[in-house]
Subunit: 119 residues, 2 copies
DNA sequence: GCAAAAGGTTTGTCTTGACAAACCCCACAT
DNA sequence: ATGTGGGGTTTGTCAAGACAAACCTTTTGC
């Protein structure tokens, strides 16, 4: 896949889809009307756009995501790391720690993660 | 400061400014022409736009950044963390480790960072 | 004095994201 | 046959980003 660019409206839409999938397209349109104030064509246009980007599929009027929230989070994180930190997680963390103190439980959790990553 | 949104062109411009500052505005326009293919007004417009955002200043035709690369990196990182991981660094790292193995020296560097963050 | 350079601003064009009005087709119920 | 609902598409409008043509003013050099 090429460089993935997602805009705010697309992300909001995906959040709704993840919470509702698998979901009938008309039901999804109703939810978007309720939560985002969208009219029906807006939702169908978004469905078509994200299907073109292969992020979801709409088969037999049932919409399912082709990418999980987790995977999207990871892709976005990697993109940021690559763009701003040359892919270096330590560089990211160092920059981050400069502006903010982590809680002890956060540090413990980080330590555990690193131990697990070693094995 | 409000929620900071920077677009690609702005980021590219800032990279050039950071590499050259303090720099005469006309010299900056020359560099942008060379590296980005911009004409002079484009650069001056960008200078004015980013000055409005208080990201740089142009005094006596000398341009300097008001935000360092480091600080921008941190702001972007925090925005991503907040948007996708509810501000949790461990959650970020866990998601990240799911898709990629870190090198031993990276793990060491991370461990050191965490030890230092404890004191 | 005049032209060129320095240091800009104003206005315009094109592209694209965000959103929807108008419309389409099919199936089903009455 | 007609109306309604389901499931969409096409086309349009508006706003904003990206970029620059045309223009402006001041200073400097000849």
């Amino acid at each position: 896949m090429d460089k993935l660019v997602l805009f705010d409206a697309e992300k909001h839409f995906l959040e709704i889809l993840w919470a509702a999938e698998p979901v009938k397209s008309t039901e999804l349109a109703r939810i978007c009307q309720e939560k985002l104030g969208w009219k029906k064509p807006t939702t169908f246009n978004m469905i078509r756009k994200l299907a073109d980007k292969r992020l979801l599929q709409n088969e037999n009027a049932t919409v399912t995501a082709l990418i999980s929230r987790r995977d999207l989070q990871r892709l976005e994180s990697e993109a940021l790391l690559q763009q701003s930190f040359q892919g270096s997680v330590p560089a990211f963390l160092a920059a981050f720690l400069e502006g903010r103190r982590l809680e002890p439980d956060e540090l413990e959790a980080l330590k555990r993660l690193i131990e697990e990553a070693r094995s």
